[in-house]
């Protein structure tokens, strides 16, 4: 078993527990042990863009220090930390870059963290679980599949922070293929659509819910028009802004057909034949199980 440091993020312990559960199960099947440090804190998403800001980098850098402590204690085998939430990925990665490239701010961050037992060296690499899978090789992922998702038309919804800004993304922002490659390995049919990278509305969901519902309508409708039966995502905020919000969308657009939105690891768990606790579909709104049963991909 390869042991990799793992950063869950707050939401994966609460509203997006299904994302974590499905990931841990699939990782085990693939021979990866995801090691969560005993101490970690909220990553403090979204990455702070002001050039003079030090305060908002303390939270992400503190987490990177925790990952380094794991490595020092011999509990993991590499300098990578694996993230699942696209926003945590983006925040940790970008703060890591600030720490490593801005010597002035690096010093200030360190000065502010004098209570920690050691200083962060900057030597942690932030990766997303999709990158881990790609690095392992899609054929290895395919080997673990016991029930290919034949006939399931899935639209990969990338969202924003997995691919942008340039230099931070896990794939080419103009023509990403990483999610399509995963779907292919799982035996599903990837459905491309124009709005796969259109922002879901992000944090505006707190105080501008109706606007976010309109965005959801555009994105989901577009995917349906291209023939998609389901969407996959890698971010709990995208899942929240595209999934449960559909009840709001239906109020304004009665003709709208609801379409399930799941985490990519849940489909992996399904294809790997890992059972109900791993697929964790009870946490999803709308419920993807009727569709999957119709397709013969889920037993009663």
């Amino acid at each position: 078993m390869t042991r990799l440091a793992y950063y869950p993020g707050c939401t994966l312990k609460t509203k997006a527990k299904n994302f974590e559960d499905s990931t841990l199960a699939t990782a085990e099947k693939l021979g990866i042990e995801l090691v969560e440090p005993e101490r970690w804190n909220c990553c403090g998403t979204v990455h702070s863009l002001s050039t003079d800001d030090v305060m908002h980098h303390l939270a992400p850098v503190r987490n990177l220090l925790r990952m380094e402590e794991l490595r020092d204690a011999g509990e993991v085998d590499s300098r990578q930390v694996v993230t699942l939430c696209a926003m945590c990925y983006n925040t940790l990665k970008r703060s890591n870059t600030v720490f490593n490239t801005d010597s002035d701010r690096r010093k200030k961050i360190r000065d502010n963290m004098y209570k920690e037992e050691k200083e962060y060296s900057g030597n942690v690499e932030v990766v997303h679980y999709l990158e881990t899978l790609r690095e392992m090789g899609w054929d290895k992922v395919k080997e673990a599949v016991v029930k290919p998702l034949t006939g399931l038309k899935v639209a990969p919804y990338y969202g924003c922070l997995l691919l942008r800004p340039r230099g931070t993304g896990i794939d080419d922002t103009d023509n990403p293929t990483i999610m399509e490659d995963l779907l292919e390995a799982l035996g599903a049919e990837a459905v491309g659509f124009a709005y796969s990278q259109k922002c879901c509305g992000s944090y505006n969901t707190v105080h501008m819910k109706d606007v976010v519902a309109d965005l959801a309508y555009k994105i989901l409708n577009n995917a349906e028009e291209e023939g998609a039966e389901m969407l996959i995502t890698a971010c709990p905020l995208c899942e929240y802004n595209l999934g449960p919000i559909q009840s709001e969308v239906e109020k304004k657009h009665p003709v709208f057909d609801s379409i399930p939105v799941v985490y990519f690891t849940q489909l992996m768990a399904l294809a790997f034949g890992l059972g109900e606790e791993a697929t964790a579909f009870t946490g999803n709104t709308p419920d993807p199980r009727p569709l999957l049963r119709d397709k013969g991909l889920l037993e009663e």
Binding site: K13, K15, N41, C42, M55, H56, L58
Partner: protein, 229 residues
């Protein structure tokens, strides 16, 4: 005035300079200097949180927090008391709450503003990992939050300094209440003992004690079992 053989040190209380014996606590030193406590003093034993104090040491930029009744003075200490920290405790009916993942966030949404800057931990006079229990509350880990905040005496120093305007001690209190009521459950040995009392198991012993003479009681007391572990 008692004789004191300790060396004298200089301290500043609310800006005024005083010479005080160097082995006194801040509280005793302030009283030595003539200050009379009408607020900001309580149990004098490090347990009630009334005497929250901030100070700076000579030549240091760091602002530190302490309990006046516990902290010994140092030369050049610049002291100010925080008699009261304004804090809004949300109202809730504990019987109606459940320890769900979002319960803490629902009653203290400002938890989402935590910057993990650790200022609260630095301010705490009880060496509590304040940032850690605030973070545990944010991600719904009520048990962790309750256990880490156990020693909190609600002195208010963390709340006064938090840049995100969180009141950690209120958060910890809710976590402990939820934990005790819903997660930890009642102490079985207490329930068992109450049952025994109600059944009258101790009635005879108590009656005997109440009727005993002073000599009998002295005898019992002097020969009682003492566990010196």
């Amino acid at each position: 005035m008692m004789e004191n053989n300790a060396e004298y040190v200089t301290i500043y209380v609310m800006g005024k300079k005083h010479e005080v014996p160097g082995d006194l606590t801040i509280m005793k030193a302030m009283e030595y200097a003539g200050h009379q406590f009408t607020r900001g003093a309580g149990c004098r034993g490090g347990f009630c949180g009334a005497c929250a104090t901030i100070y700076r040491k000579k030549g240091s930029y760091k602002l530190e927090g302490a309990l006046a009744c516990q902290k010994i003075v140092e030369d050049g200490m610049y002291i100010a008391q925080i008699p009261f920290s304004p804090a809004e405790k949300t109202t809730y009916d504990l019987d109606e709450l459940r320890p769900d993942a979002n319960t803490m966030l629902e009653y203290y949404p400002e938890l989402s503003r935590c910057l993990a800057c650790n200022t609260c931990t630095k301010a705490c006079p009880q060496d509590i990992m304040v940032m850690d229990y605030v973070q545990a509350s944010l991600r719904g880990d009520i048990e962790q939050a309750a256990k880490l905040s156990f020693d909190c005496i609600s002195c208010g120093l963390c709340a006064v300094r938090c840049p995100a305007e969180i009141v950690p001690y209120n958060v910890g209190q809710l976590a402990r209440r939820l934990y005790a009521k819903y997660i930890d459950g009642p102490s079985q040995h207490v329930l068992d003992r109450v049952e025994e009392v109600e059944e009258g198991k101790y009635d005879e012993g108590i009656t005997r004690m109440m009727k005993a003479s002073k000599e009998e009681l002295s005898e019992l007391y002097n020969n009682r079992e003492i566990d010196l572990k």
